[in-house]
Amino acid sequence: MKHVYGWLLLTPAAILLIGFTHYPAAATLLDSFFSTGTALRPPRFVGLDNYAALAADPVFRQVLGNNFWFALGTIPTAIALALLMALWVNRRLPARALVRMAYFTPTVLPMIAVANLWLYFYTPQIGLLDKLGALFGAGSHNWLGDPHLVLPATMLMVVWKEAGFFMIFYLAALQSLPPELEEAGRIEGASRWYFFRRVTFPLLMPTTLFVLVNATINSFKLVDHLFILTKGGPDNASSLLLYYIYQVAFSFFDTAYAATLTVVLLVLLAALAIAQFLLIERRVHYR
């Protein structure tokens, strides 16, 4: 009887989880072994053909590479910046609430709105960046039209958007640190850098792990800005894996290939999450 009661309690959550997470994942995996069907050509089993096409697809390789650089460029920068801002606004400052709010503002804005703002920052000649540059006599830059500049330009925007969000977690963690530690450190004559390196930072490790996992997921999940800023261009120079999946699914209507790409994304994210937990877990001190 107790068993039945327990299962009944689980049912609502289980239905949602199976209906919206596990079943779609399994169906995606299954779809990736079939060809894309239309009304005139029903889907048929093609084995690993879609995966072979994927291995030979230069755009796939490019977006995967872009995503790697995008992750490498945004994750450490956003985390370092978040920590720096948190340490800064955790002190006694004039108008502290205002400063905190200012740092947090980019987080509250929807990504589409942010991208529209930054589109005008980056626009040659009439954009904010070029107008500022012109004050110092710099020429106009085609920020989003140059394949070498476009990915760093989008990374900068994402760091700006994300750092404030991660700052909130660091700030909460910092405020839960017992003040006695700092007092003890001061009595022992520890310098501030030494205290940060040996006490504060290790104690913040659980937060860092949490933020790191989130930042990694976000670096694969955040593609809204591409719709506004670049549409993945020029020549896929700023395209990311999830945006490519969108294009394949809804612009090319190749649902089977989109499913194949999605499987790759899922495997990649699962592997990253497992690696992070296994490798970093050991260095995290939970209290």
Partner: protein, 423 residues
């Protein structure tokens, strides 16, 4: 007596649903709350009052991509709308999904058949397949050249004369480029957008150089023809060699503002921007046909009415009545004035309203005059992929990553592979 009355009332009530209204739902590609929703809603109400028995229910479905996704998703779920305005180049995709019906099959009367022939032939090309008409032109545009007359005056050029050839555009462009004291460029000669609809802009260059990019059956592309390669070389040279256009890609979305703020003296853009440019430009501006190389040329673009297969005979009849009403000369004229889209049929330009409008604003009829040189918008089977191949090749050339010949030949080879199964 009371009883008889009751029976009468009951039977009246029962009879009423028998002649119930036909509801005509249609997807319309625009964001909810955009200024055009008011115009469309107004048309729907006016049509209803003139045609009792038909209720029109427009669903605003976002941009062209969103509208297509929604229409096809509804189709898969078994509740498709009978009628839709979708991108004119979605034709092959819709055919392959076996989703749409040729208008020839419902347009039975002589009057209906005459109606099918009333539009500009150039606008019908994107809507026809194997001799049947699937798309009725509604909101259609084309590319034109906008020029800033003040900038022309300042550069010592005739402000009323736009470049007529590729050479002239370069020569004039060179005079129009303006630099500040440090040698930084503050005004470009000409800009052609290459982010949003690069393939569309490129169709104009290719057509002007004498080539179309695909065949009429939608199963062959012509990306690697020497004249097509030369066309891309010219586009690239505007930035790389003649220095009259910024190097790299030019953003579609912000170009109009760059023009209205005087940062470029000329731009190639859709006629769909005409009303917005008129409302924001603080200087006199002109609109001209695109310059010629071997000939003039510009692709058409925009949205068509499609009729879906999963429809009842009543819905088909209602859809025909509604689309005929929506594309009637007076409406086409009214719609063109409200939006800047071209009026889709010659007799619309003969209406007093549009005649008067064009007399005061001659820029509005340039697009019509350009129709004689028009080519249909790039559309093939596997259209999303085939189009993106070209987009990528163009952007790779404009940013100097690849040579035009190399990029276009690779795109052509890949397009061949995709289109072979459709021959």
């Amino acid at each position: 007596m009371k009883r008889i009355l009751a029976v009468l009332i009951l039977s009246l009530c029962a009879a009423a649903p028998a002649r119930a209204d036909t509801t005509l739902t249609f997807y319309y590609p625009i964001a909810v709350g955009g200024p055009l929703t008011k115009v469309i809603d107004g048309y729907a109400r006016q049509f209803e009052s003139e045609n009792p028995g038909i209720r029109v229910n427009p669903i605003y479905a976002g941009n062209y991509d969103d509208a297509r996704i929604k229409a096809l998703a509804a189709l898969k779920a078994g509740q498709s709308a009978p009628l839709s305005v979708l991108f004119s180049i979605d034709l092959y995709e819709l055919l392959e999904q076996d989703a749409i019906l040729a208008w020839d099959e419902v347009a039975a009367s002589a009057d209906d058949k005459a109606w099918l022939k009333a539009f500009y032939p150039a606008l019908m090309l994107n809507g026809q397949y194997k001799g049947k008409t699937y798309g009725i032109p509604f909101q259609r545009s084309t590319i034109v050249l906008y020029w800033n007359k003040d900038a022309f005056k300042e550069a010592g050029l005739d402000p009323d004369k736009a470049p007529a050839t590729w050479n002239e555009m370069v020569q004039m462009g060179r005079k129009l480029v303006k630099k500040d004291a440090q040698g930084n460029i503050v005004r470009w000669g000409v800009e052609v957008p290459s982010t949003g609809y690069a393939y569309w802009m490129f169709q104009a260059f290719a057509r002007e150089n004498g080539q179309d990019l695909m065949n009429r059956d939608g199963n062959r592309t012509n990306y690697a023809h020497p004249d097509v390669i030369a066309a891309l070389q010219y586009w690239r040279d505007l930035g790389a060699k003649y220095k009259v256009m910024p190097e790299g890609t030019v953003e579609w979305g912000t170009l109009r503002q760059a023009f209205t703020e005087g940062k470029t003296a000329m731009m190639w853009h859709t006629t769909g921007n005409l009303t917005a440019v008129r409302d924001t430009a603080k200087f006199p501006f002109g609109v001209a046909m695109l310059p010629a190389s071997k000939q003039r040329g510009s692709p058409t673009g925009g949205g068509n009415f499609y009729l879906f297969k999963k429809t009842t005979p009543e819905e088909r009849k209602a859809a025909l009545a509604f689309v005929k009403w929506m594309t009637a000369p007076e409406r086409a004229a009214d719609w063109s004035m409200a939006t800047g889209y071209v009026a889709t049929r010659p007799d619309a330009y003969a209406t007093p309203k549009l005649k008067e409008y064009a007399a005061g604003f001659p820029q509005a009829i340039v697009a019509r005059d350009q129709f004689q040189y028009a080519t249909p918008e790039l559309s093939t089977f596997q259209t999303g992929r085939v189009r993106k191949l070209l987009d990528d090749a163009i952007q790779a050339s404009l940013t100097g990553q690849k040579q035009p010949a190399e990029a276009l030949k690779a795109a052509q080879a890949e397009a061949e592979r995709l289109l072979k199964p459709y021959r």
